[in-house]
């Protein structure tokens, strides 16, 4: 396609992307460098049905003046990025100097909210993405092999987890693993431990969320792989059969190389999706045991009665950087292949 044609084709999409994705990201970036003005506090008398006390309130007049002078707030530079609730540079230095062995240092660092969330997010990505690829591929292969007549209903059944709204899906599982639910109660019986709870143990909560993630995302990989399998040319496969190649050898040497670009694509999308894991944490009420980066942003914006825009913006920017780092190897590889292909 000539560059000019491409430009006109791309223009509407490009404009929409700048307007709805680019500009908000820039605005979030700017916001992350600002903190709230210093609060002007005054002492006043407060009376309610339970009596009167002298207490403090925010002086609204002076605060309004401050806000009108500088509506963005107080410039904070990278202050929000390095505070305890984010990268915690000072705390990490302190832990490094205070602790004498590496294990204790790691314990201290992973106790910080940002690192706690980062570790969960990465664990989730690392377990879910490969399993989704593998499971999706296996299902696609198996379905490709069954008789055409029953393929339709089977495909529908397989993509059901993707159709079910994430929140609903996680709630269903949440009720099943309740200590009185069908899975929870049975596990208690099996283990003979009435205090065992999938919801209160951190490890078990993580495992539950990861299993849920694999269940929810596999259909996507399956659908793409299944479509790709339809394009695998039959001649080389037949030739391989005549040469006596086993099923495994055929898949390894013919099918996989053929659908390789699609695998990269699914891996990219899965990684991006999984890095932003959020709904299962809400659905499973797992805030206590599992926090992800997206959950931190949500927490800063709504869970407090005081909204922390600066904190949320800083975490958002770092999430974007995190996704970029995760995707870099795959992207570089694709770029290299693209160049050699030309």
């Amino acid at each position: 396609m000539p560059n000019k044609t491409f430009f006109w084709f791309f223009l509407p999409t490009g404009l929409a992307m700048i307007l709805f994705i680019g500009l908000p990201i820039i605005s979030t970036g700017i916001q992350s460098f600002y903190a709230q003005h210093d609060q002007v506090i005054k002492e006043v008398k407060k009376c309610d049905p339970f009596g009167c006390t002298v207490s403090i309130v925010v002086d609204n007049e002076l605060t309004t003046q401050l806000r009108e002078a500088k509506p963005l707030g107080k410039f904070n530079g990278f202050g929000t990025y390095i505070d305890r609730n984010h990268l915690a540079i000072d705390e990490i230095k302190k832990f490094w100097n205070e602790t004498d062995n590496f294990g204790a240092f790691v314990d201290q660092v992973t106790n910080l909210p940002f690192y706690k969330a980062l570790i969960f997010t990465l664990t989730y990505c690392l377990f879910v993405t490969p399993n989704v690829l593998l499971l999706g591929f296996i299902i696609a292969l198996s379905l490709n092999a069954v008789a055409r007549k029953i393929r339709g209903p089977l495909i529908f059944g397989t993509i059901l987890p993707m159709i079910v709204t994430p929140l609903v899906g996680s709630l269903v599982l949440f009720w099943m693993i309740d200590s009185q639910g069908i899975i929870g109660a049975n596990i208690q019986n099996l283990m003979n431990d009435p205090y065992l709870s999938l919801k209160s143990s951190k490890t078990l909560t993580w495992i539950t969320i990861i299993i849920y993630g694999i269940w929810h995302h596999s259909p996507f990989a399956f659908v793409v792989f299944y479509a790709a399998l339809q394009t695998v040319p039959q001649e080389p496969v037949e030739a391989a059969i005549i040469d006596g190649a086993s099923r495994f050898q055929r898949i390894k040497h013919i099918v996989l190389p053929h659908i390789y670009p699609v695998v990269t694509f699914v891996a990219l999308i899965s990684l991006m999706d999984n890095f932003r894991v959020f709904e299962p944490i809400i659905g499973f009420s797992a805030e206590g045991s599992a926090q992800s980066l997206s959950w931190l942003i949500y927490d800063n914006l709504v869970n407090e009665e005081v909204i922390l825009f600066g904190s949320a913006a800083a975490t958002s920017m770092m999430t974007i950087v995190g996704i970029a780092i995760l995707l870099a190897p795959v992207l570089i590889r694709t770029w290299k292949e693209f160049k050699t292909a030309r």
């Binding site: 609060q39 407060k46 309610d48 339970f50 609204n60 209160s200 951190k202 206590g288 407090e304 922390l308």
Partner: protein
């Protein structure tokens, strides 16, 4: 027949004339939490909407919506039903208007004690009081010869006895869901130990001390007597646990007593459900509970006509003797004419025992938020109490710095 018609007409005109509901214009849109007493209150105010538009949003997620919705100009809601804690962010952001002139003009039936005044200005009109207190199963306690507990130490002993008897596996329940609910339990217990959240005259935290440790240890003891899923249980979930007969002792909001004692569910459990005041803890003499009021506030970013219409309709409910008589079961109303019934015993006991109101401080929301997420690991046994409290203070400090409180 005619007599009935006349009486009906009389009632109809009688009430409207009394309440001065001749509202000609304006639109009313209310944001409120979702529990029975508030629904009754809003329904009552709707009877007095005159020809104004009337809309209401009941949501248990009200805290998340309130600030953004009232910041818009004109704001989405003309009134917000708030409580001690939720009025603070509205005050911090200057989102609600003083009500002095409206109270003078239209607030005849409202008692002075209902007015929430801050710096001499009326900022809210309270209509009900609330607290968390103990509920117990009379039958279970009687069978085992346990006296009604007065302190949390007795609650622990009683629960252990019930568990040992084999009657119930998890005899205690409280809303320990990680986040707001869990933090609220900490606040109650910390106040019961005589703790102050901030160093005098400032926003520096003051919880990492012996009182904080004692508070956490008590929460842990209670959590071990609760259903192992306690970190996911909110008020609604423990209410269900209670109604299924799994629990014999429970700390729950007074405003939920109505739904616990209604005709739904097992009549034997309902019959044996008894209310008592909040417990004390650690030898203290004030209860480990906080007093709450619920009241209405008016949005600042809304026209004067809307504010007037909204105030008149809400004031009708906030001074309605008929409502408090009809719905005496639903809440402890602060409205004139309320006769406390057996379901109000928790709040009345709390007031008698000298319970403290929830601290109405500008930075309290940040402390509450930090508590809700940082003490979880202690309860899970992954962290010492001192470390958990240190984490709470550190998390609070960085948030307070970003917000300009420190």
């Amino acid at each position: 027949m005619r007599k009935i018609l006349v009486t009906l007409l009389f009632l109809l005109f009688g009430t409207s004339a009394f309440a001065d509901c001749n509202i000609k214009s304006g639109s009313i849109n209310i944001l409120a939490n979702d529990f029975p007493a508030l629904r009754t209150f809003v329904e009552t105010s709707k009877q007095c909407k005159g020809s104004a538009d009337f809309k209401v949003t009941h949501s248990s997620e009200h805290n998340k919506i309130a600030v953004p919705a009232l910041t818009a100009n004109p704001s989405e809601f003309s009134a917000r039903i708030a409580a001690n804690s939720s009025i603070v962010p509205l005050m911090n952001q200057d989102l609600i208007r003083p009500l002095d002139d409206l109270v003078k003009k239209y607030g005849k039936g409202i008692q002075d004690s209902q007015l929430i005044t801050i710096d001499g200005k009326v900022m809210a009109v309270a209509f009900m009081a609330n607290t968390q207190h103990l509920y117990y199963r009379e039958d279970v306690l009687k069978d085992l010869g346990i006296a009604v507990p007065k302190t949390y130490e007795e609650v622990v002993a009683a629960s252990e006895k019930i568990r040992a008897s084999g009657k119930m596996q998890y005899p205690y329940a409280a809303a320990y869901k990680a986040g707001w609910n869990l933090a609220e339990e900490f606040v109650n217990m910390f106040i019961g130990h005589g703790g102050e959240f901030f160093k005098a005259g400032g926003a520096q935290p003051n919880i990492n001390n012996a009182k904080g440790v004692a508070t956490l240890n008590m929460l842990k003891k209670l959590s071990e007597l609760s259903n192992p899923d306690y970190l996911t249980h909110d008020s609604e979930a423990i209410k269900v646990e209670w109604e299924s007969g799994n629990v014999a002792l429970m700390t729950l909001w007074a405003s939920r007593s109505g739904t616990l004692l209604d005709d739904e569910g097992d009549p034997n459990i309902t019959k044996a459900t008894k209310l008592t005041g909040p417990a004390t803890v650690g030898g203290g003499n004030i209860p480990a509970a906080t007093l709450w009021w619920d009241g209405f506030t008016l949005a600042k970013n809304r026209s004067d006509a809307d504010a007037e219409a909204t105030f008149r309709s809400l004031a009708h409910a906030a001074s309605n003797k008929k409502m408090v008589a009809d719905a005496a079961d639903q809440a402890v109303w602060l409205v004139e004419g309320f006769v406390p019934g057996p379901k109000s015993i928790g709040v009345i006991e709390a007031v008698k025992m000298g319970a403290k109101p929830y601290p109405m401080l500008p930075q309290m929301g940040l402390m509450h938020g930090a508590l809700g997420s940082e003490i979880v690991e202690f309860l899970q046994g992954k962290e010492s109490a001192e470390q958990a409290l240190k984490d709470v203070e550190a998390a609070y400090i960085s948030k307070a710095k970003e917000q300009g409180f420190l």
